[in-house]
């Protein structure tokens, strides 16, 4: 009895002491914790729950005027997941999403690194080139995508106009599956290069020039210097940037949604646009399936991040 009371007292003082020690810190992080639990944690839990039901437009709880209509959807267990993983749609979309992500990130990275290397020298007009190359970053993506839609316009767009002026038949940029895929990748690369360029420029400038001088003294050629100084020098920044841009590209919504609407016939739909289509474009809206797609997408990303981290650790990177 007495022991219990003492231990309660002890716990009480410990709590009070840690409160007085840490309440500043806790008060400062409280808003973010509230935001995260309230609008990420709770919706996430609900999302997982919805993915296990048959919720759709017709049976969710909703408000019409002053009348509240109760939800009537039912718990169906893993049925949605079995349907999705058993069908071919998901695997098709996954395949294209991987092609899309890998090609976008690798092309963007190569172009970004190449241009950064060029801009990282002193010559006349450097600032001007730099400003021009960053311009796509400055413009909201949805605006640029509309500009590209105009350029790709099949009957009248400037690209086809120019081609036909050369006597070449116009290309069905956005209505032929292959061309549409190339078009969305092209636009996404165009949008992504400025960020990559700036990040790589920052990385290049952090390499001490003495390293290059020393290498040159030892008779290393430009390629050798590139392989042995530049690449190792930009490694840690590259790792972060590639990870970030992989995740961004995997989840890239506006480019595909606004350029092709996922078409023709869904051929350019990546996983996220497909999930969006299920819940907000298709009729009737299928919330349960869309939620299940969302959960699967999240699992894929978590899997990717874990394996990426493991790969880094194997190479001795601290992260």
């Amino acid at each position: 009895m007495a022991e219990a009371a003492i231990s309660r007292l002890k716990r009480g003082t410990r709590l009070r002491r840690s409160l007085s020690n840490y309440w500043y810190a806790w008060a400062m992080i409280a808003p973010v914790v509230v935001v995260i639990t309230g609008i990420i944690g709770w919706p996430l839990v609900r999302g997982v729950f919805l993915s296990l039901t048959n919720a759709n437009e017709a049976n969710v709880e909703r408000q019409i005027g002053v009348n509240k209509i109760e939800a009537t959807y039912e718990f169906v267990g893993l049925e949605n997941y079995l349907d999705i993983l058993g069908g071919s749609e998901f695997w098709d979309r996954l395949g294209w999403t991987l092609v899309w992500t890998v090609s976008c990130v690798s092309i963007t990275f190569l172009i970004g690194l190449g241009l950064a290397n060029m801009l990282n020298r002193s010559f006349r007009g450097r600032t001007l080139y730099r400003m021009a190359l960053i311009l796509p970053w400055a413009i909201p993506a949805f605006v640029s995508v509309f500009a590209w839609r105009m350029i790709f316009n099949e009957r009248n767009g400037i690209l086809n106009n120019l081609l036909e002026g050369q006597g070449i038949a116009g290309v069905h940029w956005l209505s032929d599956p292959t061309w549409a895929k190339l078009a969305v990748i092209g636009v996404n690369v165009w949008l992504g290069v400025p960020f990559m360029l700036i990040a790589m420029l920052g990385a290049l400038q952090s390499i001490p020039p003495e390293h290059y001088e020393a290498a040159e003294m030892d008779g290393a050629g430009p390629w050798q210097r590139f392989w042995n100084i530049t690449l190792p020098g930009v490694r840690s920044v590259s790792m972060t940037v590639v990870l970030l841009s992989t995740i961004w590209t995997f989840n890239m919504f506006p480019v595909i949604f606004l350029l092709t609407r996922g078409g023709p016939a869904g051929s350019t739909d990546i996983l996220v646009t497909e999930a969006f289509r299920l819940a907000f474009i298709r009729s009737p809206r299928d919330f349960a399936n869309s939620a299940a797609w969302g959960v699967l997408i999240l699992l894929l990303l978590v899997l990717f991040a874990i394996s990426y981290r493991r790969a880094l650790r194997k190479q001795g990177e601290v992260w």
Partner: protein, 316 residues
């Protein structure tokens, strides 16, 4: 302000150190003293061919980068009939702008966007800087889990949250209200901004905090009166990031806001060109009106951006 900002801009404005001679594709021109019979080139000097290659490549890249927005701008001054002609400005007109500003809901959308984005930015910057400060200065229970959560939430695809958020908003009657998007955009901006602010606070010496405490300031007083003014470049970067992210967001804005009055700019621009209407000429004018302010803000903030990103990346 000036003294504070210069610290963070050096990387972008100083000339690049002489990082090598010759370009990769013409190695025969590079190398110190490589010229046989020619005047030996100084370190960092380029041969004419390498120079040509450099400028040609950069010029091409710059053209590709600039063309789409430039074409948008040019087209916005053409009358409807000329929208798709190749010619540059044969019949200059401001009709498109006139129509967009006076006969469409453009200004309403602009107002909606502005309200949502400014509110998001103010709240987002404030709460991510308090969090960043706590993470940078205090060691407290729950710190590691919080840092992990912030890192992980950055990876959250919109697809996971959009359906449950939509249903929650519908349940509480918040659809078509600005608050729905403000709250949602906080989830996107805050985790990243908190990380970035932590990086910035790490660059501010702890001795400043200590001297503040010695002078009798509370931890909040230290934060608010001493550290926040010093972190202004960091605040500018996070504010800018939040602003741009929210200004350009499409998916949530499309899903949560319906009906012409409630749209934001991202939704509004879509109304000009869809299955039913093909008003490309109006779209271009609206697009320019959306892009120009964003570009100006960006032009002002971009030098801070590079240093901000690299500071965050190297310090965290």
């Amino acid at each position: 302000m000036a003294t504070e900002t210069t610290r963070f801009t050096t990387g972008t404005t100083t000339a690049a150190p002489g990082t090598g001679t010759g370009t990769g594709d013409t190695p025969q021109w590079g190398g110190a003293g490589g010229g046989r019979g020619k005047r030996p080139r100084r370190r960092g000097e380029r041969g004419p061919l390498a120079s040509f290659g450099l400028h040609a490549t950069l010029l091409l890249a710059a053209l590709v980068a600039v063309f789409p927005p430039a074409w948008l701008l040019v087209t916005s001054f053409k009358p409807k009939a000329d929208t798709f002609t190749i010619s540059l400005l044969s019949n200059f007109t401001l009709d498109n702008y006139d129509h967009v500003l006076n006969n469409t809901k453009f200004l309403t959308w602009f107002g909606n966007s502005l309200l949502i984005v400014v509110t998001t930015t103010i709240i987002g910057v404030f709460i991510s800087s308090t969090t960043g400060y706590a993470l940078s200065r205090f060691r407290f229970p729950g710190m590691r889990p919080l840092m992990w959560t912030l890192l992980i939430t950055q990876m959250f695809p919109m697809a996971v949250l959009i359906v449950p958020l939509y249903n929650l908003m519908a349940q509480y009657g918040l659809l078509n209200r600005p608050i729905a998007l403000i709250v949602t955009y906080l989830t996107i901006a805050v985790p990243f901004c908190a990380w970035m602010m932590k990086g910035f606070f790490d660059t501010i010496p702890v001795s400043i905090d200590e001297s503040g405490r010695v002078d009798g300031l509370s931890p909040f007083g230290t934060f608010w009166r001493l550290i926040m003014p010093l972190a202004r470049p960091g605040l500018a970067v996070t504010g800018f990031y939040t602003f741009v992210t929210a200004w350009a967001e499409v998916a949530y804005a499309t899903a949560f806001m319906t009906g012409e009055r409630h749209l934001t700019l991202a939704g509004g621009l879509q109304t000009f060109v869809n299955q039913h209407t093909q008003d490309w000429h109006l779209m271009t004018a609206a697009a320019v009106l959306i892009a120009v302010p964003a570009t100006l803000v960006f032009g002002y903030a971009q030098r801070h951006l590079q240093s901000g990103l690299t500071a965050g990346a190297t310090k965290s």
